[in-house]
């Protein structure tokens, strides 16, 4: 029997004692489920406690083989533990790129499906679920059921976005998108305030990728000032001459790593305000069209391995909500007021227009999503509670892959779908077999 050891998500908080077993085969995984309850864990990039079992945790890191690829259609069949980074390494040189990607490539296929992750193209192309042809799910009774948009559809729609709570995804088939190069043509458009940022998103609904960096500490007339970044996959004929011959060859990025915890005070001293102002000014200077390699464009933080340690030992909390279109601007304003008032260093504020809602329990809805991280300080719980109220008042909801602090109450009120989700779980036997620290906290 494996021993329980401290385990956490990417935010390093909370920490729970979990047993972590890494089966290699379907039979080994089924044995763990039979002995359940258990929760699947991919690469642990969810910020909070979604992938912490209480205590049993099933790591998919040994179920990480690619099975087949069809170069005619771009369909890849792989085990759930395959890393997105490996998919890119393997298929970008052959002219294929993930059709949907989150902001880090160190996630697994199973984790991307379970959270129904969204990327910078959500407004146009939808979330991860749109790219899945089928998945094989290990159910509470040990059976493996293949589900997808065209078969066992209800199970599929609960599972994609179901945070591991319907079963263990063993393998899946996903569609990649063809690309001509490994480069992105990025256009940066400064927005002097929040309304302008929103207007830019709406005007650029046709752009493949759009996302904004938002200065959450600017106040007054500059409140919500943003750099809106639009992107398109560059075609070969858009590359400079010296790159055309090797369109997928981008310079290898230097890897920095943060091997030790930095002291928690560092972020206060080099205040986030100064950082944000500097970033804004650099953004203004760099405005216009630029060719950016795929890695820097999609995964800016991945070049600093272990960057979660810059927040020190006490860790940090992520906050990500989505507000429906009609309430987005006023809701965002109130959130920004609250953040500026609290003066908590919010390093990275990301604003993005989301597209359609799909599937039964996944996060996205048409509107605006705001993602931030905060160092875990004594004042944080109060701030988060006030922000939660604002989200609720404006009809918004929260992203479970980033959550570590919601209460069951708040979830029920912000996301009425959660009651149906919990009912489905108890009716299918999933409630007794698949349990995470998060599902317990949220009474799912």
């Amino acid at each position: 029997m494996t021993r329980a050891r401290p385990l956490a998500g990417w935010g390093r908080h909370p920490v729970r004692d979990c047993t972590l077993a890494a089966p290699e085969t379907e039979a080994e995984a089924a044995a763990l489920v039979a002995a359940g309850p258990v929760i699947a864990r991919g690469n642990g990039r969810a910020y909070g406690d979604s992938a912490l079992g209480v205590p049993a945790t099933l790591s998919t890191r040994r179920m990480n083989r690619m099975r087949a690829f069809d170069p005619a259609t771009g369909v890849l069949e792989a085990e759930a533990g395959v890393l997105l980074a490996d998919i890119i390494d393997t298929f970008l040189p052959r002219g294929w790129f993930p059709a949907v990607t989150p902001g880090t490539k160190f996630v697994t296929l199973g984790g991307m499906i379970a959270a129904d992750v969204h990327g910078k193209n959500h407004h146009r192309d939808g979330a991860m679920g749109e790219t899945v042809l089928w998945l094989d799910l290990l159910r509470p009774d040990g059976r493996v059921v293949r589900c997808g948009p065209g078969q066992e559809r209800a199970l599929f729609e609960w599972t994609v976005g179901g945070m591991g709570l319907t079963g263990v995804i063993l393998r899946a088939a996903i569609r990649l998108r063809p690309v001509e190069t490994g480069w992105i043509r990025q256009v940066t458009r400064p927005a002097r305030d929040l309304s302008r940022a929103i207007a830019l998103f709406e005007e650029n609904a046709e752009a493949t990728y759009s996302v904004a960096w938002i200065d959450c500490l600017a106040t007054g007339a500059a409140q919500g000032r943003s750099l809106v970044m639009l992107g398109e996959h560059a075609r070969r004929d858009q590359l400079p001459d010296d790159r055309v011959a090797r369109p997928f060859r981008t310079r290898a990025r230097r890897r920095l790593s943060v091997p030790f915890d930095l002291p928690g005070w560092l972020l206060n001293r080099y205040s986030a305000r100064a950082f944000n102002a500097a970033y804004w000014n650099a953004g203004l200077r760099g405005a216009g069209v630029r060719l950016v390699d795929w890695d820097s464009y999609f995964y800016p933080l991945d070049s600093i391995l272990g960057w979660n340690r810059v927040y020190g030992r006490r860790g940090f909390a992520q906050f990500q909500c989505v507000l429906p279109l009609d309430a987005a601007e006023t809701g965002l304003q109130r959130l920004l007021n609250e953040i500026a008032r609290a003066g908590q260093g919010a390093f990275l504020g990301v604003l993005k227009r989301m597209g359609a809602e799909a599937r039964r329990f996944s996060f996205p809805m048409p509107g605006y999503t705001l993602a931030l991280d905060f160092p875990a300080t004594p004042g944080l719980p109060g701030l988060l509670a006030r922000m939660d109220d604002i989200v609720q008042e404006h009809g918004g909801r929260f992203y479970l892959a980033k959550d570590s602090h919601l209460t069951a109450e708040t979830l029920r009120r912000t996301d009425p779908r959660s009651a149906a989700f919990a009912r489905m779980r108890s009716e299918t036997g999933a409630a007794g077999r698949f349990v995470s620290a998060q599902s317990e906290r949220l009474s799912l």
């Binding site: 029997m1 494996t2 021993r3 050891r5 077993a21 890494a22 085969t25 040994r62 083989r65 690619m66 099975r67 087949a68 690829f69 085990e79 490996d86 390494d89 393997t90």
Partner: protein
């Protein structure tokens, strides 16, 4: 230029898999060998798909002496590189009392691996080329109460590799000894290992690749282990026998 195949003996281990991927990424065809070759099918497809190299699977039991020659004859071709990661740790408690268990550990870490590499060495010598890679362990550098049955067999294997290297030094055939410290694998899954001293299987594979590409004969995985073992070897026996390491 086509690259020579690498044969992985013990291909179902985490370290064996990692080495296979590392060499395949450089374009080497791969021959996977293990006791349950049907379980290698998923790895075969995976390696072939990711790296675009030929991959074959073969049944191999290090302790089945009679099977060794037919096994080698059955490979698609004599490999250019052979890496042996076969090993068995067992439970020291059990190994101290149950001689059948102890014998299996001794044979699995020394007899089997040494014998198959000896056969390959002779074929490589006759051909006039090849590299043998033996994954032994720092546990073989000094016997300790906590795992001396395993450690002594690894000591035998390390000495065997050193002698083989000495014998073949005037031929083009190379012998590389790999001495991992702690590695996070199935073998050590239930042990509490200190993170700074524990390598990932990929690091072992990287060290093996670098040794192959360079000229080192003996490699530790995570350099700190060379220092740790130098200290451990230097402790005088009257003191050492009282330690609990």
């Amino acid at each position: 230029m086509t690259k020579p195949p690498i044969l992985i003996l013990g291909a179902r281990s985490d370290i064996g898999r990692a080495i296979a991927h590392r060499f395949a990424a450089e374009g080497h065809p791969v021959q996977l060998a293990a006791r349950a070759p049907e379980a290698l099918e998923a790895d075969r497809a995976d390696i072939a798909l990711r790296h675009g190299v030929e991959v074959s699977c073969h049944a191999f039991d290090a302790l089945d002496h009679a099977g060794h020659e037919p096994f080698l004859d059955g490979l698609p071709e004599l490999p250019g590189i052979a890496a042996c990661v076969v090993g068995l740790m067992g439970e020291q408690e059990e190994n101290a009392r149950d001689m059948d268990a102890a014998r299996l550990v001794m044979r699995s870490n020394y007899e089997g691996p040494a014998e198959i590499l000896a056969r390959l060495a002779n074929r490589f010598e006759a051909r006039g080329s090849g590299t043998l890679i033996g994954v032994s362990s720092v546990a073989g550098e000094r016997g300790r109460a906590s795992n001396y049955v395993y450690g002594s067999a690894k000591a035998g294997f390390t000495a065997f590799l050193s002698g083989l290297r000495n014998r073949l030094s005037r031929t083009p055939v190379r012998v590389i000894t790999v001495l991992p410290g702690f590695v996070a694998t199935r073998m050590t899954e239930n042990m509490d290992l200190p993170a700074p001293l524990t390598a990932a299987p990929l690091e072992v594979a990287e060290a093996v690749w670098r040794a192959h590409a360079g000229a080192r004969d003996v490699v530790y995985v995570r350099r700190i282990w060379a220092l740790i073992m130098a200290v451990i070897r230097a402790i005088p026996e009257p003191v050492f026998k009282k330690t609990r390491l």
